[in-house]
Each structure stands twice: as C-alpha cells, then as structure tokens.
Amino acid sequence: MAYQHTRSENSGQRGRRLVVVGLLVVLTTVVHGQAFAGETGALVRSLLIPGLGQAHQGHYTRASVYAGTAIISGFGILLSQVHYNQSVDRYDIAKSVYAGYVEDLENGEIVNVGDLNASYDEVIAAWNEAEDRLVWRNVFLVTFIATYTVNLVDVLISKPYKLDPDERLAIDVNRERFLVVKTIKF
C-alpha cells in the first residue's frame, strides 16, 4: 500500500514537471518569436549582448565597438575583482595581526615596538593596495555600464540599415573577363 502511494506521488511529480517544462517551452517560443522579430528584436538582442542589436540592424562597425568594449571591460571587471578580493584578504589578515598586538598590550604583555610598527605599516600598505584595486574595478565597471547604456540608447534611436540602390551587387561582363562589384559602407 505504501509502495503504491509513493509510486503515485512520483508519477504526479513527474506529470507536474512535464507541464512546467512544456509551459516553459511554449513561453520561450512565443517570447522568442515576438521578442526577436523586427525593431524590438534589436533591442532585446542588445539587452542580452551589447552590439548584437546593432549587428541585427546592420551596423556592424558599431556592433564590433560595443561588443569589443563590453568584452574587454567585462574581463577587466572579473580580473580586477579577483585582485581586489586578494588585497582585501591581505588587509583583513594584517588588521587581525595588529589587533592581536593591541590585545597583547591591553593584557599587560610586552610587545616590541618594531613588530607593532611593522604590523601597522602592513595594515596601511594593504589598505592602500585595496583602495587602488577598487578604483580599477570601478573604472572597468563604469566603462561596462556606459557601454551597455550607450548601446541600448543607440539601438533605440538607430534605424535598420537599408541597402542603397547604388550599393547593390553589379556584374560587369567583358569578352575576356567579368567583374563582380560590391560597395560596402560603414
């Protein structure tokens, strides 16, 4: 009886999961179909990846600039955040060592002035390093924010690139040769 009950519970959970997955598939298809079509599609693309909307509109140079800046500043954020975390760890350790000396003094123990000064110098050096690395992290972050924002504004105000009749593909045929002519504008 208990076995049957568990089995029916499992099948019920499986059914609910199937319904949820099915709904997600339908929703994704609908949203994908609507969101990625037309001018709204360009906006959604730029929301996902900077420059993708511009590429969708046919502005490939701008798309490269936005995507390149976003990638570089994104990697910069990651690297500078890792370095910042390392310097914060160093600062925390230095601070705890100095606090240990202060506690020793409060407990009446003898502390060498060289150790005390060296540990405080280490606290200040680690704090300065953390401040410097925080500045770099913020520079990359602000660059990323600016790129992302300008990318969105740009995709909103830009119109899709339309081919000029003069830029169309042309074939010039001679007796001995033929030329395929294509004009590219950026």
């Binding site: 009446g108 003898i110 060498n112 002035v113 704090w127 924010i145 992302y148 924002t149």
Partner: protein
C-alpha cells in the same frame, strides 16, 4: 524604456560603489620607547660581566630587558628584568656570550634591541 535604462544604470552604480574593506584602525597612541645606546660590556675573567648603557629619556622607561645568549649548542636565551641602566652578570664559567638590552615603557612597549658581544 527610459525607466528600464535608469533602473539598470542605478543598480550598476550602486554595485560599483560597494566595497568590502573598511577604513584602517587608528594607530595606537604609544610613547616610542628609547633604544639603549652606549652599551658597554666589560669583564676581567670572562665569568663576571659588567654591563652599562644609556637612554635618551629615562623618564618614559619602566624597566629594561637584558638578553644573554651563551654561544654553545643547545644553550637557551636568558631574559632578565633590570630596573636601572647597569647590571652585573655572573655566568659561572668562562663562556663566549652575547648580550642585548632593550627598554620597556610603562605601556609595555619594548624598544629595539642594542647588542654587544663580550670581549
């Protein structure tokens, strides 16, 4: 759409502003202990040693620490508390020895060591 841009920009600026490290603690207001100077070691027989030293400002010194290190294997470091600026050390045997002295303030902050090897 402008609201969305504003929200995205503001949230990223808030993220950018957050830092994980606080300001450093203030330096402890301690009186710098004076390092002993003119540390002299004299002996007649390499068994009893007469030590003396000076400090710039004896009024901030609570006591002195005298370190004696005999230069033989497995010999421990001996530390003695000395109230004044001179001391007599009897090793019991004629042994090579190095002496160091430091001053300790009333806040228990010890100065840098001044060392001398027995002649």
């Amino acid at each position: 759409m402008s609201r969305l841009l504003l929200v995205i920009s503001l949230s990223m600026v808030v993220l950018a502003a957050c830092s994980r490290h606080d300001d450093p603690p203030p330096a402890l207001p301690i009186v710098e202990p004076p390092q002993p100077t003119n540390f002299t070691v004299t002996t007649q027989d390499s068994v009893v040693y007469e030590l003396s030293w000076d400090v710039d400002d004896p009024t901030v010194v609570s006591f002195y620490l005298l370190y004696s290190q005999v230069d033989i294997p497995f010999a421990g470091l001996q530390v003695d508390t000395i109230p004044g600026t001179s001391a007599q050390v009897n090793l019991g045997l004629p042994l090579p020895v190095t002496f160091c002295v430091s001053s300790v303030t009333f806040e228990n902050v010890e100065s840098l060591l001044t060392c001398a090897t027995a002649p």
